[in-house]
């Protein structure tokens, strides 16, 4: 079993059933795990911010930094390995906020909203999610089975 670490503002895809894609400490960032059960292709992105218009140059250099440039790239990278859109299962974790974060610096909520908008526009359903609140999450996608696990420090492992 090889654990492939997906860094911040990064994405990875794999069709090797022995791979586990993992991303650590999401904070307000979001991890999106996608899996096609037929072609057994999986992918994971760790994006930081909702909107690439903030810094278009950065978005060209690191598309996975933003929801609107990273998520399409995640899907395209999976298609290249043989995945098909209609079969892809989407699971989401992250987007935490600081307490009483209703009036300012709503990075977590903005990330969740941006992600829902993108999926809604593209007719993609979210199969399962563990988002919001104020905890850190680590996400693992087992490429062989499509199983997605979320780990919150000090708590039991959650299967999405």
């Amino acid at each position: 079993m090889a654990e492939l670490v997906v860094g911040v503002a990064d994405l990875k895809v794999s069709d090797n059933p022995h791979d586990i894609l993992v991303t650590y400490a999401l904070g307000s960032c979001i991890g999106v795990a996608v899996f096609d059960p037929v072609s057994k292709v999986g992918g994971l992105i760790h994006f930081m911010l909702p909107d690439s218009t903030l810094d278009p140059e950065k978005a060209r250099e690191k598309p996975a930094m933003f929801a609107d440039t990273g998520i399409p790239m995640l899907f395209k990278s999976c298609y290249e390995l043989g995945a098909e859109k209609k079969r892809i299962l989407v699971k989401v974790a992250g987007g935490a906020s600081i307490l009483e974060d209703s009036n300012y610096f709503r990075i977590g909520q903005k990330n969740i909203m941006a992600l829902r908008k993108i999926f809604w526009k593209n007719n993609v359903l979210i199969a399962a999610e563990n988002t919001g609140k104020n905890c850190n999450r680590t996400v693992r996608l087992h490429v062989g089975t499509g199983e997605v696990c979320v780990r919150i420090p000090g708590e039991e492992m959650i299967k999405l």
Binding site: L99, E100, Y104, F105, R106
Partner: protein, 281 residues
């Protein structure tokens, strides 16, 4: 023995802050200091010398291929030499630490992240960097080095108060352990004779609004830098983001949502160029 007494005893037993770091800071405070004098203080401390050479070659400081201590002092300049020495001195305490669901290197990575973020904020609001803020950033969570094991032992009770009763993490620490990590850190910095503004910025780094006197702008910058790192997931642990958001920070630092988002992008870049500072332990 009560938990709080055990915590206080651990604070008392923490090893003294490296004398070399204090001496260099004192010498460099004199405008007529000589490079030779600084080199002579540092060179007898083998571990600081080795660390300075590693740190000096970090892309973050913009100079490359420094192979002697003398060159490091000449090319880095006063501010960066002080930073390199603080990184070397403070990182030692994180080496064997663990807690908040993290190991020492992960706790340290968060400290460096906050130090880097204080400079991004400082450049944004005053157009310049600030070495004292950098040091305070490195130190802000030093209390976790001591409180970590106590927190891990009681993590279910603490998480219960946070998840089911709406406590912030530091309030839950106080309730369960008798003290919070910010307070513990402030006491450690006092024991090490750090100046008042650095001590206060540690003690109040989650609640700068409770600070009554002194240079609280300093403290608000540490607060914001910490919050940004928590949001960006830089060394985030079991405490997660369970700290109060204080919207006064917008007025006090004159900072907008967009500045924070741009700051996160800049932080990611700085974390890459400063990897030698993170990997020092």
């Amino acid at each position: 023995m009560k938990t709080m007494d055990r915590i206080l005893r651990s604070i008392k037993n923490i090893p003294a802050f490296p004398a070399t770091a204090q001496k260099v800071a004192a010498v460099m405070g004199n405008p007529d200091y000589s490079i030779t004098h600084v080199v002579n203080i540092i060179k007898f401390d083998a571990s600081i010398t080795a660390n300075i050479l590693r740190i000096a070659n970090s892309a973050y400081f913009g100079v490359r291929r420094i192979s002697s201590l003398h060159d490091a002092v000449v090319f880095l300049g006063q501010e960066n030499i002080v930073r390199a020495i603080q990184v070397s001195g403070i990182s030692k305490y994180f080496k064997k630490a663990s807690g908040y669901g993290l190991n020492g290197p992960e706790l340290w990575r968060h400290s460096v992240g906050v130090a880097l973020m204080t400079q991004i904020i400082s450049r944004k609001i005053s157009g310049r960097e600030d070495t004292k803020l950098f040091t305070a950033g490195l130190l802000h969570d030093i209390g976790k080095v001591i409180l970590g094991e106590f927190v891990d032992d009681s993590i279910r009770r603490i998480n219960g108060l946070v998840n089911d009763h709406g406590y912030s993490f530091i309030r839950a620490e106080e309730e369960v352990l008798g003290m919070n990590h910010a307070e513990v850190g402030g006491k450690m910095a006092q024991q090490w004779n750090f100046p008042q503004d650095i001590r206060d910025s540690i003690t109040y780094h989650h609640r700068p609004d409770l600070m009554e006197k002194g240079e609280n702008l300093f403290c608000w910058i540490i607060y914001l830098a910490d919050q940004v790192c928590l949001m960006a997931g830089v060394g985030g642990g079991a405490d997660g983001l369970a700290y109060w958001g204080l919207k006064d920070v917008i007025e006090i630092l004159k900072i907008r949502q967009k500045d924070v988002e741009m700051g996160i992008i800049e932080l990611l870049k700085d974390l890459e160029s400063a990897k030698e500072l993170i990997e020092i332990i």
